[in-house]
Symmetry: C2
Subunit: 510 residues, 2 copies
């Protein structure tokens, strides 16, 4: 009797977020939905994370409409989303009733499973959203952001799992956004949770593939009792993305474990997305192999490329090694936060500033807020000297309480702001869109009626050639270098195609 | 106390053979050798397989000189090669004294570890070369070609391991050229060998990465007691190649196992080859992700692309699905040989013939030989009807004995043939080169003095554009479609660059 291992398919959310900057248009996902719906997944992650932002910023798609479409296209599947706790899908803390309304509306529009995390693993930033999910009757999954530091041991993660269950989570997710979770810790943490919280505690494991070791970690997590693992169909897998769904299925053959997945459906889904992926070539991550240096720097792939481009903008691309050494120091000063949105960007940018301008000579507003407690509590103490600098620079006092407690009720103000915008339909959904992206929403509401914009391109279409003015070997009308009168003989041109100059010999035959 | 897991690095042989058609020039490997030599590998695979062929066919490199260079550049390392048993590095059986001389010369020029395999796992094709290695005092590694069929069970592989030890092998290699070895069978076979042959039996495991599951298989093989595993530095890994060396190192952290590898050296080797790989872009395999369909078709990636190009040449690219279904049938009729050079090509080509011309209407000479026993014995019985057809078509009788027993002493004849060639230096090494590649050696001997040819190219250089005769919109000398007289006004050309046709508007500005 084999144990069934459940699987969450990531193709429709984290896979394209990780591999192609969240650019996949709904139109390109629709044809795969029937097969995904029938393949036997425990859930289909299809919303949240950066998809909301990308929909309105780049794709002119209403994210709420995308959710409703998924609900119709995946009638037999649990829809799953990633929610940043008190930050919802935005980049600041929201007042509690906004959190409640967001969860209500997501549930109402079709969401089934809410995976809720906080970048600092601060329980106080998770409580309200978990409670809101519970009230809707949907599945509340509490998330542990996995990271590596001198302060993060197996016991700490197990303790956090217990706290998540205490506040009513239906299941626990171990989320390894940087592919740092090695096989032995994967085993130990899952085993630890099962022993401390009971075998019936549902444990999900989410790992990225960047370091090349995490399919092994999934194997060990499964051996330790994990109930559900996250994978992405192979044609949308690997690199900074996830392990391939089909490889998971095959890996378990002959073991005491098996999935319910239908291999024929998986092949169809694979082939479909293999055709779609090249359309998004310009957005594809430049990480294609594995990157094990992450284990030492603990810098996730996306964060690294961010820092590199910041350095390049400042003409300091050669200082990347210094920044790599600075990041762990800044992270230690900040109390060892996990590095995940938004803490990864905050720590990374401050490390760049430290290298460019001297250590803590200039603090970013976000880093000062992190030091002063405005993002929540960190596992380790934060450096008192840097806290003091943060206070001096911003004039803000350090806080110890829950950041959202400082917020006043804001729904009515948000509603007033939203409905005043051209194109706003007055729904709570639109108010939430405005609440999370106040700078992008106005333009989106205005342009919404134009319909979705698909940024994918036919990879076989010849790129529109940029032709530089040709420099013929002789003046027009006269002979060319061969002494023949143009255009009778061959003529040599410099032709610039996609920025490269080619010597092109043109032989006009007729 | 952790058990040390030894590692064989594949970068210098199988990695570039699998990823870039064995095209890497010695010149591009030399700068990495010092770091490879000091990184702590148990052995460095750097010779044999297809490298000998590639050296003389494409790179104008003397393979024996390459071996001597490696010997000098890797003074602290065991050099390892892959040897096709009685076929040596060629494509036919050689008479025993030729086998002896090849092994002697390889040992004399610096080889330490001989991994010897036979495509059919026929022990009789391995005995002579293993004995020859033993006489030189070098390490003789007997190889089990792993495959999947109704007749191949764990017990069969264990039995073969015992036979290999009986003929004097110093260690056993489980060789999984098609990435079919799943974690559970990996565990079972290694455990079975250790139990049947004793814990002290050295077991090496060689897997490819194509299906995405085999790093997990290495983990399970290690848990079962494997002593040494094969990997390739990450920048020359994955796809149809192998698992990344650095990922193996990291995977073991915290487990009862560890490697001796120096991570700083690995990073240097990785970075070096990350710079080299793009130079061989035109040879890179088009398999970049994972391919789990191999588990059903059992067709290795290289074989699939071969068959596809054969079908395309015959204008039948649309019949690939039929061929995929035909391969397992042909393989069954042939007694379930593993699919590895040369059996993979023989079975694949016959499957193409069957689909194109009717089942067994035409047999290739090689397939007839396989059916008649001229490659050796297969695990299962071969179809009597097809054996009969093979006899009728070729006039050759079926044999049961060891194929090489039919061969007469041939060394003197080979020597006479070689020394008669322009540029042959008269050495035994040159005779062996001629023996293995009688069609390619003459040209190589003649051109050898010109020195090695590096096929790598600067990836940033603009490709030489191939310009097709342009088709102007009107006859030459007259106006174009815009009614302007050429070449005064803009002219629209079809310009073919690298096979793609671009509409190019040329505006001759002066």
């Amino acid at each position: 009797m084999q144990k069934i291992i459940d699987v969450t398919e990531l193709a429709l959310r984290d896979a394209h977020q990780s591999l192609m900057a969240t650019r996949m248009a709904m139109e390109d996902m629709v044809p795969a939905c029937a097969d995904i719906d029938q393949a036997g997944f425990w859930s289909v992650e299809c919303w949240g994370g950066a998809t909301f932002d990308s929909c309105i910023r780049f794709l002119n798609e209403d994210p709420w409409e995308r959710l409703r479409q998924f609900r119709k296209l995946l009638p037999h599947s649990r829809l799953q989303m990633l929610l940043r706790g008190q930050n919802l899908l935005g980049y600041r803390h929201y007042e509690d009733t906004v959190v409640d309304r967001f969860v209500d509306k997501a549930a109402e529009n079709g969401m089934d499973v809410f995976r809720v995390f906080d970048a600092l693993n601060d329980m106080r930033n998770l409580r309200r959203s978990i409670a809101a999910v519970r009230r809707t009757g949907k599945h509340a999954q509490g998330t542990i952001c996995y990271t590596v530091s001198p302060l993060h041991g197996t016991a700490d993660f197990v303790e956090m799992a217990q706290k998540l269950l205490d506040i009513g989570c239906d299941s626990i997710c171990i989320k390894d956004m940087a592919a740092l979770l090695k096989p032995q810790p994967a085993y130990d943490i899952v085993k630890g949770i099962k022993e401390a919280c009971g075998e019936a505690t549902r444990v999900h494991v989410h790992v990225h593939a960047t370091t090349g070791v995490t399919l092994v970690s999934l194997m060990k997590a499964i051996e330790a009792g994990a109930d559900c693992v996250d994978t992405a169909i192979s044609s949308l897998s690997l690199g900074p993305g996830h392990n391939p769904t089909e490889s998971l299925v095959e890996m378990l053959e002959g073991t005491p474990f098996t999935t319910r997945l239908n291999k024929q459906k998986l092949i169809k889904i694979k082939k479909y997305f293999a055709g779609i992926r090249p359309r998004y070539k310009e957005f594809l991550s430049n990480i294609t192999g594995v990157e094990t240096e992450i284990f030492d720097s603990q810098i996730p792939g996306g964060m690294l490329s961010n820092m590199e481009s910041q350095l390049k903008q400042q003409g300091a691309a050669d200082r990347v090694e210094e920044v790599l050494l600075e990041v762990p120091r800044v992270r230690a000063d900040a109390g060892f936060p996990p590095l995940v949105t938004p803490s990864s960007q905050i720590v990374g940018t401050q490390a760049v500033f430290n290298v460019m301008m001297g250590r803590y000579k200039v603090l970013t507003g976000e880093f000062a807020d992190l030091m002063l407690g405005y993002y929540g509590e960190t596992i380790g103490p934060r450096d008192p000297h840097v806290i003091d600098l943060s206070f001096k620079q911003t004039g803000k006092s350090p806080i110890n309480g829950r950041p959202a407690d400082l917020l006043k009720p804001e729904w009515h103000e948000l509603r007033d702001g939203a409905v005043a915008l051209e194109g706003c339909n007055g729904s709570d959904e639109d108010v939430l869109t405005f609440a999370m992206f106040p700078k992008v929403a106005p333009q989106f509401f205005k342009a919404r009626a134009n319909g979705p914009k698909n940024l994918g391109k036919d990879p076989n279409a010849a790129p529109a050639p940029v032709v530089a003015p040709p420099k013929p070997a002789a003046e027009h009308g006269n002979g060319n270098g061969n002494g023949n009168g143009a255009p009778h003989g061959p003529a040599l041109y410099d032709v610039k195609v996609n920025g490269k100059t080619h010597k092109v010999l043109i032989n006009q035959v007729q």
